[in-house]
Symmetry: C2
């Protein structure tokens, strides 16, 4: 098993690679993890220019020697390479698994929409630095990548197709060709560092998206680090999701164990 | 001329009404401005519950005694009444002009999409409290409402149809039935209090919106009070708009005199 790591948004610290190689040597000796040098580049906000990040992703995705692409971290920037990379993916890219979340939802969504490879929402290498987690988070991701370990899956996943997105990324994809057809899917959403009025506004956009009319239901992951408003907002995230699902005419199915936290689980796109 | 003021998002201070009545008595004696009591209500974040705000808007919009509806201020919340109010508007509502901007773009867009009345992006009553402006901003709006004064119009407006939106509100409408058909329109956008990476992400959504493929071009209004990022972002708003318009395949037509500032001009939706 050979896993390639690229970073289509922001750079990671070199300590992530050394910690990951130490973990793999001890706990996952059957795996070879290769970090592309692009992960450590810095060009303003980004881990290299759009061209550099596109080239790194294409190099590893199109390389038949890799079985999976594991996105190093989120941030902002994966959307800026979609138009460049999607048309250049080859047959090797179509046989791969792609794992990440947050801003990486742009790539996961676009790949799923294009039926290229297997996509999953789940922990990323940079999270090996989570305090007091003892690499449990990234080990959950690795166990699934290596053997499809179902103990890594989000526990409510059933026989239906699923997809999971950060709400900001989902709404940024709505209206575009990069939003996959999620008809009959259970849609899981999570959010981080937003004020409640914005979460409400994004749920309005989700609820009124013509493209999402056919989904089977919605589950709410962790809504973390909510930014305080000047005025206390009227509703909690769970009250909001109940309201907007009703407006949308789809069932709210309850909570999901996904989000920007250590217990974040793996959600394969489609049937798990 | 009789103008009704309602506030579909957040409440205004009572001083706005007294200042406005004083201005009108001196400078626009031909106008009767009536503030609905709903403008001054407070229910958490909102100027009354969704039901109360819906009822106030419907009462004034459906009243043949009013010639225009002037939205008191922005904030957040107009999107939450769209499903309720749109189906209940009558013939009197169809003969009216609706003026406002920012969060009011939800109503302006939905009304334009439904071909109900005449809509315009422009200054709102709460802006009578702008420091050192001597009511120039709201007088610009009133002159246009009363006599269609073309000196109030955004100066680049030509014979083509136009529309103007806050970028956050435009992107929140994308993918829904409430986004009007803007084929052949010049689209003007403005933004306030966002970090640059989010502006870039919203421009991605605009550029990739299937619904906006046919627009004639884009103009950029004022991008104000930009929130600093932890890392300096690579591009300025003007560099971003050039890049995304190129990806979109529509011309970037230059700056527009709209936005959250005292010089904000009137942009009627459609042909001015």
């Amino acid at each position: 098993m050979r896993i390639g790591v690229v970073s289509p948004a922001r750079p990671i610290d070199p300590s992530v690679e050394s910690m990951m190689q130490a973990l793999v040597a001890v706990s996952f000796p059957e795996v070879d993890i290769v970090f592309h040098r692009q992960c450590f580049l810095s060009d303003g906000h980004f881990a290299g220019s759009d061209a550099v990040r596109s080239a790194a992703f294409l190099e590893y995705a199109n390389d038949p020697a890799f079985d999976a692409i594991w996105f190093a971290r989120g941030g902002y920037g994966a959307n800026r390479i979609l138009d460049t990379v999607l048309p250049q993916l080859n047959d090797a890219a179509r046989r791969k698994t792609y794992l990440g979340y947050s801003d990486m939802g742009f790539l996961l969504g676009a790949l799923y929409a294009s039926r290229i490879g297997r996509q999953a929402h789940g922990p990323m290498p940079s999270e090996i630095r989570r305090k007091n987690d003892h690499a449990a988070c990234v080990s959950r991701a690795l166990s699934w990548l290596i053997s499809g370990d179902r103990r890594s899956l989000e526990p409510t996943i059933d026989a239906r197709p699923h997809a999971a997105f950060n709400l900001s990324i989902l709404t940024a994809l709505i209206g575009s060709k990069y939003l996959p057809d999620l008809t009959d899917h259970v849609l899981m959403i999570e959010e981080i560092s937003e004020p409640l009025y914005r979460i409400d506004r994004m749920l309005f956009t989700m609820a009124h998206a013509t493209q999402l009319k056919g989904i089977a239901g919605v589950r709410l992951g962790v809504v973390g680090d909510v930014i305080e408003n000047d005025v206390v907002f009227n509703d909690t995230p769970e009250q909001m999701i109940v309201r907007w699902c009703a407006d949308m005419g789809v069932p709210y199915l309850g909570r999901a164990q996904i989000g920007h936290y250590a217990a974040n689980c793996v959600v394969p796109f489609g049937v798990a």
